[in-house]
Amino acid sequence: MRDVTIIGIGLTQFGELWDKSFRQLIAEAGASAILDAGISGKDIDAMYVGSMSSGRFVGQEHVGALVADVSGFSHMHIPSTRVEGACASGGLAVRQGYLSIASGINDIVIVGGIEKMNDVGGVSATETLATASDQEWEAFFGATFPGLYAMIAKRHMYEYGTTKKQLAQVAVKNHANGALNPNAQYKKPITLEYAMNATIVADPLGLMDCSPISDGAASIVLCAADIAKKYTEKSIKIIGSGQGSDTLALHARRDICTLDATVHAGKMAYKQAKITPKQINIAEVHDCFTIAEICAIEDLGFVKKGEGGKAVENKITTLDGSLPVNTSGGLKSKGHPVGATGVAQIVEITQQLRGEAGKRQVKDARIGLTHNVGGSGATCVVHILEVA
Amino acid sequence: MTDVGIISYGAYIPRFRIKTEDIAKTWGKDPETIKNGLGIIEKSVPSPDEDVATISVEAARAAILRCNINPQDIGAIYVGSESHPYAVKPTGTIVGEAIGATPILQVADYEFACKAGTAAIQTCMALVKSDMVEYGLAIGADTSQAAPGDALEYAASAGGAGFIIGKEKIIAKINETCSYTTDTPDFWRREGKKYPAHGGRFTGTPAYFKHITSNAKNLMEIMNTKPEHYDYAIFHQPNGKFPVTVAKMLGFTAEQGKQGLLCPYIGNTYSGATMVGLASVLDVAKPGDRIFLTSYGSGAGSDAFDITVTDEIKKLKRENAPLISQMIKNKEYVDYATYAKYRDLLVLE
C-alpha cells in the first residue's frame, strides 16, 4: 500500500450561479487544481467525478466521460469514472481516487465533485434530493428529506435533552465562519434569534437549520507520496480513509440518533491513521442539517453520544474552540452543491493544514478530518489528512 | 325458499365536519333559516386523503372484523357510488385486494345516484340465493360534490357502509325486497362535469316522494304489513325534512325513524345514506326487531327491504368496530376555507 498525498486543490464560488453551467463549473475547478498542483494534463492517469444526480438536475448522465471531455483529456483517452453515493458522491470519488493510487494502479489522479442544482425549480430540486432517501418506503409516504433529519432531531431531543437553541448555535457558528470564506454561498453572520425564529420546514428544523440548494464544483489532485516532491513542497498526506454503509431507510437503523456508517467509517480511518479522535485538530463534517453536525461530532468520537448539543453550546467547536468544526462555513453557510461537497471538504482541510486559510486559519492545525454523508446516513466517507 | 340476509356490517364516517351556519354565512344567507329549513346542523367532510375507495375499505374491514368469515369466501363485491375515484377502473377491486378477497371474486361498480348501494344489496342477495356465491359484499359510499353556493352544498357529504350477505348465521334476515323505477330526470350529472344539476322543486313530489311512497306501499302490500309492524323505518335522507315527511305520509312515526335518520348530523352521504342509516339501526337492534328500509336514487328509483333481526345478532362482535354513534361524536370542525381547499373548490394549477 502506497501513501497518497494531495498536491493540488481547486474550488469555484458556491451559490446560485446563473452564469455558470455544469460543464463550466467542473472545468473551472479542475483547471484551478491542476494549476495549483503544478502538473501537466499529461501527468494524470485517471479521473474520478462525484455527482449525485446530473441526470435529474441537468438531464445529463455519462458525466465521467463528459468531464474528461470538457477538461480536454478525451484525446488522451483518460480513464474517467463517475461515482455516486447521494450527498457522499464527492467523498466517495476522493476515496476511489485514493484507493487507485494506494493500490499502485495509478500515480496521479484528479478528483472532481460537481452539482448544478439551480437549473431546475425548487420543487424539482427537492424531489431529486429525496431520491437519497428510501423512495418506496419513506419518500412515497410523504417523508421529506428535512423530515427525516427532523425525526432524528426529535428523538435526539427526547433521549438526550438536546435543545432547539443548540441546533441554532450550529447554524450561527457556521455562518460566522462562512462570513470569512470568499467562496461561501452565504457570507453574512446570523444571530441566534434569527436562527431560532426562522420559518419551520419540518419541526423542529427551520430554514436556518437546513443547508441550501447550491451550484458549485471542487477538485483535488492526488499523487503518490514518493513522487509528490517533484511537484510541490506543500503536499498534504492522506493518513486514513474509511467508508461505511447502513440501511437506506432511517426507520431500519439500529439507533435513530446514531449514524453507524459514520462510526464505522471513522473507526476505519482512525485505525489506518493509527490515531484517536483526540488527536484531530480540525474537522469538516457533513452538516446538511444542524442536527447532522451534532450527531457527527458524537459519532466521530469527539464527544460522547448525546453530548453534541452541549459541546456546541460550550463553544468547543467554534473557530477558536478546542476542536474547530466546519471552519469553511459548513454545508449550511458555504453551500451544498451535493456532489461537490465531499471534495470541497478536502479542499478546506488542505488549505488549513497548508496555512492558507486566511481569516479562517486555525493555529497549528496539523491533523484534519473530513466527514461526508449520503442520505440520512446510509453512506459515509471519512478521510484524515496530515501535514506531510 | 332459502333464507338470505346480512351476516355482518360495517360503516365509516370521515371525522371532519362543517357547520351549516358556516356555509350559510359564506354565501350571505341567514344561518337559522337554512338550518331549520333543511333540518341539517352540520355535515361530514372527507379529508384530502379520503375517497370512496378508502371509505369502502374501512367499512368492509369493519364488517369483517365483526364476524368470523374468511374473506376468501366472499365471492362478489359490488360498490355503489356517484363519486367513484375513477370513471373507468372499479372501486370494487381496490376493496377486494384490501380485504384479501381476491382473486376468485366477481366485481363491478354500480351507479344509480343515491340508491346504488341498495342495488348492490339486491344483486348480492340474488347471487347468494342462487348459490352462485357463498358471501356477497354490498357497499354504498360517496364523497359527493355540490356546486359552491348551490342549495345542495349544505347536504352533500361523505360516508359509507358495507353489508356482507349470506345464508348462514344471518343476523338480519331480508324477508323481501322490491323496487320501483321510472325514467324521471330530477337530478343528474353529465359526463366530465364536476357538479350535478337538478330540477329544483321537481325533485320533490314527482321524484323522491312518488317513488318512495309507491315502492313502500308496494312492499307492505306484498308482505301484508302495516307501519306499526315495524320497529324501525329508514328512508333516504337528502335533508333532515324529506324523510320525516315521507314517513308521516306512509303512517310511520318519528320514533320509528329516529335511529336511522343521520342527515341532521352528517349530511346526505348519497349512496351511503340509507346504508349508514341501516348500520345505525343494526348497532342497537335486538333479536326480533323488524326494519323497513326504502332507498331513493334520482333518475329515478327506489329499493325497499323488509328485514327481521335474528338471535344471531347477539353473537356479532359489534364492539370490534366503531358504532355510528361513536363516529358521529368523533369529529373535528373545519371552516369554509379549509372545506373549499379539501373539496377542490379552489383550483390548483
Binding site: H251 | D51, T54, E58, R61, L65, G100, E319
Partner: protein, 146 residues
C-alpha cells in the same frame, strides 16, 4: 403522467395489507419483505414466508412537515412518524386523525387505509397505509389471520 403503475402494483400487498415476511431460520419478522434474512443470510434463501402484520405499533419519533411534496400540499402541516410495529419492524408513515400538537413519542397507533399520492389528474391513484391514534373506543378489536 409518470406511469409508475407497475412499481406501485407490485407493492400493493405491502401497501394495502402490510404483508411482510418471516425468516424460516430465525423467525424474525420483516417489513417490507426481504429476499433473505440479514442475520441468517445464506441459511434463509428460499425459506422466507409471507407474514401479515397486524398494523398496531407505537411512535418512536416524528416530525411535522411544513414544506412538503406537491401531492401533500392540501394536508400541510402533517405529521410523519417512525412507528415500531408490535412484531418488531419499524416503518415510516403519516399520522392522521390527530392534531399535529397532539402527536407524541410512545403514542399507540394503528394502521388505516388512505390515498397516499396520485399521478396528476390523468395518472393512477396510489393507496396505502397511514396511522391513526389507537382507537380507544374499540379495545377488544382483534385481527384474525386466515
Amino acid at each position: 403522467m409518470k406511469s409508475d403503475v407497475a412499481r406501485f402494483w407490485r407493492a400493493i400487498p405491502q401497501r394495502y395489507n402490510l404483508i411482510g415476511n418471516q425468516c424460516g431460520s430465525c423467525e424474525k419478522i420483516f417489513f417490507p419483505p426481504r429476499e433473505t434474512c440479514p442475520e441468517c443470510r445464506r441459511k434463509s434463501i428460499g425459506k422466507m414466508k409471507d407474514y401479515k402484520l397486524n398494523g398496531k405499533g407505537k411512535i418512536v419519533t416524528y416530525t411535522i412537515i411544513h414544506v412538503g411534496p406537491e401531492d401533500f400540499e392540501k394536508q400541510i402541516p402533517y405529521p410523519i412518524a417512525i412507528i415500531k410495529l408490535d412484531e418488531g419492524p419499524c416503518i415510516t408513515a403519516q399520522i392522521v386523525d390527530c392534531k399535529p400538537k397532539d402527536v407524541k413519542i410512545n403514542m399507540k397507533v394503528e394502521s388505516t387505509f388512505r390515498k397516499i399520492q396520485q399521478d396528476g389528474d390523468i395518472g393512477a391513484i396510489y393507496y396505502g397505509y397511514k396511522f391513526k391514534p389507537r382507537n380507544e373506543l374499540v379495545p377488544n378489536k382483534e385481527k384474525k389471520k386466515h
